[in-house]
Structures are given as structure tokens and as C-alpha cells.
Subunit: 353 residues, 2 copies
């Protein structure tokens, strides 16, 4: 379908730019000597997955059993589910572990016991460590609890204790390269400290896995980690430009939306493109909540992001966009506008059906 035929809010992917983003991150990992296990929750697409394969990627990260099953069905045989083990899906986990190299995360002894009791086949287990984000994982300072959990895993033959895994989600709250590099250095140093304790306890190989697009985009020296797991970088988005992870022209996903209402007297238009298409994720720009910005396009490429044309509110299907006079003059009912989403992972998840 050509862009001209678009009738409803539609995800427009710039394949060339997405492939360039993948190649750049794959090259970066290779030069740094770290294993590249990209997160596929951003695109959730077998077709985009193929673009990663074309860059030599063979192992991936997902955030649910459903995604793991989907990608296993599409030939991916080395998958980490980077989400706290959901003991209600043990049958699924068992089936997955029987047919692929599966990795799971644990930060709780009860979850480890449930895993040991339910899985009869070999499975890789990472201990999730909280190095500053404060979402999931055992606090890095709590080395006693981490050591206990590692010992618990070690007692079960088919649980293969792989190492320590963290996610620097707090890098998303930063702005600028220096702040992001500081988060990365601090977080990695904390992983190193925990590893040192475990090595001292007699564990022999402890891999370190880290992720997140801001750090992996900005950091050049990965400081002796074994694996990186960024995901968002394949498309990037408006939020990443605010954080400082990417330039405007690296963004590879926009949402084409029909103009359905024009209100020049209040400098606004209404687009067919709402919360169910873009998600209600938002960022602050110049003191205002923004749910996306219009972009000027050349084919599927962004020529420029119009930060003076922000999406200012979203209902279920409506989006309200502030439109400066110069754009309003050339707009008509039924035109398509292109919205750079705040958070491409969520917009893509909304629109992929």
C-alpha cells in the first residue's frame, strides 16, 4: 500500500533507516567485543527481525512468553525473556525451554523454587539486579540476598546460572550524553562489585548483561560487560531525541494520520490518531505535555521534526495538534500528517495489529 492510500492511522517505517540503526548498533557491539542480544519488544515483528538477522544477529531479548513463542515460531532459537519470571506461565516456559535456548530472570527465592520444581529441562537463569532504576531486581547493595539466590540456583542441575542482568531504565530520565554516561558507569561498576562478591564465593563464570537504548547509543566503552540488550534504537522516537540518544533523522517510525478537523481560529487541527494508536505516553517540552510532534517527510524519511506543531492532547481516537499559521495555510481536510511518536515501542505495539 502506498502512503497515498492510507485511510486510517498507520505506522510508517523507514526500512533503510531502521536497517542503518541496526547495523550501527551491531557494529558497535562487535567492535566493543560485547554480545548483542537486541530487545524485540520494540517491533514485535518477524519481518523486522529478519533485518536483524541480515546484520548477523542470532540471539534476542523479549519481554513476555507470548513474544518468545512468536519469535521461536519464526526460527529464533536463543531468547531471553527479560521480564521477572511469571510463575503462572510455567507450562509455557517449560515448552519454550524444551525447544530453544531460553533464558529467564529471577530476583526472588520463591520464583526460583517454582522454576526448579516445574522445569525438567535445561534453562539459563539470570539474577536480576537493581543498579539504580528501582523497578525490579535485588538491590545491588544486598549482596547477601544475591549470593543466597545464586547458591539456590546452583543446587538445581538443570538451572544454569548465567550471571547478573540489569536494566538502566533511569537513563530514560536523563538528558545529555554526560548524564547518560554517568548512569552507565555507575550501574556497571555496581554490577562489577556484585560479581566480585560472587567470584569470591567460588562461582566461576558470571556474565554481565545490560541494556537500554540511551546508554547503548551514547556509551562507547562498555566497561567489561558481556552482553547488551537495547531495543528502542531500531526506530528511536521523540523521547530519545529529548534524552539525547539520537538525532532527528535517525527516527525510523512515524504514524500517518488523516486530518479530520480544522480550527484555524484556535490554531489547532484534529487528526484521526488517538490514545489507541499513539499511546498516552508523553514528555514535557517547553513546560507543556506533548504526545508527539508533526514531521515534514520526504517519502518515509523525516526531513524535519516540527516541534512547534505538537500533539497537545489525545482522546481514544482523536488527537489534537497545535498548528502554526504557516502549516495551517497549506493543510486541508483529508490530508495526511505524520506524527513522530513519543515512545515508538508503545505506538508500534498499538498499531501492529
Amino acid at each position: 500500500m502506498g502512503i497515498c492510500d492510507i485511510q486510517r492511522p498507520t505506522l510508517v517505517i523507514n526500512e533503510g533507516q531502521a536497517r542503518a540503526n541496526i547495523q550501527r548498533m551491531a557494529d558497535k557491539a562487535r567492535y566493543a567485543g560485547v554480545h548483542f542480544r537486541p530487545h524485540f519488544k520494540t517491533h514485535q515483528s518477524a519481518e523486522v527481525g529478519q533485518w536483524f538477522r541480515d546484520c548477523g544477529v542470532t540471539s534476542i531479548t523479549v519481554s513476555s512468553c507470548s513474544m518468545a513463542n512468536y519469535f521461536a515460531d519464526h526460527g529464533w532459537s536463543d531468547i531471553t525473556i527479560a521480564f521477572p519470571l511469571n510463575v503462572r506461565e510455567m507450562d509455557d516456559i517449560h515448552d519454550l525451554a524444551s525447544r530453544i535456548d531460553l533464558g529467564v530472570l529471577i530476583d526472588n527465592p520463591d520464583a526460583a523454587s517454582a522454576l526448579a520444581a516445574s522445569i525438567a529441562t535445561s534453562i539459563q537463569v539470570w539474577i536480576k539486579v537493581d543498579t539504580g532504576y528501582g523497578r525490579s531486581g535485588i538491590l545491588c547493595d544486598n549482596t547477601q540476598q544475591i549470593t543466597q539466590l545464586a547458591k539456590q540456583l546452583e543446587q538445581v542441575d538443570h538451572l544454569k546460572f548465567k550471571g547478573l542482568l540489569t536494566h538502566n531504565g533511569h537513563a530514560y530520565h536523563m538528558q545529555g550524553h554526560e548524564a547518560i554516561r554517568k548512569i552507565y558507569a555507575e550501574s556497571t561498576q555496581r554490577l562489577h562489585s556484585v560479581r566480585a562478591v560472587l567470584l569470591n564465593e567460588g562461582f566461576d563464570t558470571i556474565e554481565l548483561s545490560t541494556g537500554d537504548t540511551p546508554c547503548c547509543s551514547v556509551v562507547d566503552n562498555f566497561l567489561d560487560v558481556d552482553e547488551i540488550r537495547p531495543g528502542n534504537f531500531v526506530f528511536y522516537d521523540l523521547m530519545q531525541t529529548v534524552i539525547g540518544s539520537c538525532s532527528d533523522d535517525q527516527i525510523a517510525a512515524v504514524v500517518a494520520c488523516p486530518v479530520v478537523g480544522m480550527y484555524p481560529e484556535r490554531e489547532e487541527i484534529i487528526i484521526y490518531g488517538g490514545a489507541v494508536h499513539l499511546s498516552k505516553d508523553n514528555i514535557e517540552m517547553d513546560g507543556n505535555r506533548v504526545f508527539g510532534c508533526l514531521a515534514e517527510m520526504k517519502g518515509t524519511s523525516i526531513s524535519s521534526i516540527r516541534r512547534d506543531a505538537p500533539v497537545v492532547s489525545l482522546s481514544q481516537e482523536h488527537g489534537t495538534v497545535h498548528i502554526p499559521k504557516d502549516i495551517m495555510k497549506s493543510l486541508h481536510i483529508g490530508d495526511l500528517v505524520h506524527v513522530v511518536p513519543v515512545h515508538s515501542c508503545l505506538a508500534v505495539s498499538c498499531l501492529r495489529f
Copy 2:
């Protein structure tokens, strides 16, 4: 599937309560002598649609051509698409108008021209009027523009000018019955004024259609409108309790989520239930952003909403919930908790696949 078998974030509907909510609104409309055309965007389900049929409902509102097609396929033959006419879907509109009684909204002469040019069959057309919300519609003060548009419609045989339609979305920003009633009275008085102008211009029948759950829940005297189109009331949600449209026990939709992480030291748990399940819609409660609250349940009924156990943040699949000590004591990894969504329309839209 019983609740005990739930593995992933799952919508739990209290059918009895939803049916009671429907019956109550249907009765209210009947006593008031207004036509009841409920908005089906909240549930988007043929099965729930049947519950409305059981209460005598025969005409409905939707917010997209896709929904109109879905419900037309399920035997609904009188549908208004309460969304500004999307001229890029004219083929769909034409097909729909050929097989059912279809109503559309117009607030722009170009859209009216496109409709006149593309549709060869009879179609009902409402003029969308902005009576204070400030999203779509011609401003109620601009009676000249409204009259012009009405005359434009009148010139085309198969465009059946039906009347004036408004949506009091600004009622969602109110709290308390008095504030909601004031919005309703003001908005309806504005519709009356516009209708008076049109009658004066020689138009004979001008119906008035209004909607929104807060006003329709709270107002008893519908002040001479012809039709009401509320939608959210079938399930209600946390936002509606804050607005004052419903009591806690009228809420008929919660999301069951597995507990996947426990962090008693910071009084938080992580649930499998994130932005892709609950949406990122949020409200302010006690000065904090809240994305939902846990509920104590008896079967599928809410016994009490635990406003001291709010969902404080959402990632793509993770939800972070503040947990008071008394709840934490009895929780275990793998338990199900039940989240009252902030906005049931969006949570249901996320989870209905």
C-alpha cells in the same frame, strides 16, 4: 476460564453489574423520554452488545468505520459514527450507508462537499457543535457558519440533515454532581440557542444529541434533548469515581495481573500488567499520578477499592504498585491482584484482542 487459571493480564468483567449499569441508563432514558444510543467504543464487543439488546437497545454509537463495520456485521442496523467524518474512508462510508441506517458528523464544508460527491445513498448527517469542550465541532457562537453548513447539506437530496450533536468532554475535568450538572445545563442551553437560530432560518426538525458518561449518569432532567450517547457507564472506572459519576461498586471491569516481583523494603510490588494492558491514562490522587488502584474482590465483584494501593508507574509490560504493609503480608509471588483501571475504554481496547 476460571480466574484461578489466569496466566497473563486479563480483563475481568462483572456481567451482572454491567447489565445493571445498562438497565439503569436505559430506564433513565426511557423515563426522560430521550432516545438512547449508547456508545459502543467502550466495550467493542458483540457479546456485550447483546446485553444492550436485552435491554431494548436498537441503535448505537461508535467512533470509527471499523467499529461500525464490526457491529453492522453483528446485526446492528442503526449506527452513528460519532467522529469527525474521515474523507479518506469514503468507500467504507458508502458501503455502510448502503446496508444500514448510518449517521455521520460534519463540522466542515469541505467534508460536506466530499460526502455529497462520494455517497449516492441516503445518509444521516449531524452537525457537530462545540458547546465548550474545545475539541471538535463548530463553536456554538458561530451560528452563521452552522447555518451555512446546514444549508449546504440541505441542497443535497441524499444527505439527511438530522440535527446538532455535541460531546461534553469537559465534564471529565469536573468533580462533583453540581459541577457536572452545570456543564450539562450550559451545554444544552447552547444547543437550544443554535437550534432556535436554525428554526428561525426555516429548518423544520432539528434533533439534539448529547452524550458523555458523567452528565448522563448525574443529570436527571435532560432538558429537551432528543438523544443521549454515553458509553463508559457500562463498566465505569477509577476516573469516574473521582469525577463523581459512579460509586465504587458500579465498576464492572478490572484487570487481573500476576504478581512477578515483591519489594517489601520499599513497599512495592511489580505486576505483569503495563502500558500495553492498562494504557498510560492516569489521574491525580492526593497529589500523585495514579495509573490504577488495586481492588479487593469477591468473585468478579469489587468489595472495595484500595486507594492506598495505587499503580504508581507503568512500563511496557511492568506495573509498579505501592503496597501497604497489611496487603504485603498476605501476598506471594504468583498471586493475582486486580487493578481498577483509570480509564476502562482504553484498558478494554488494549486487552480485547
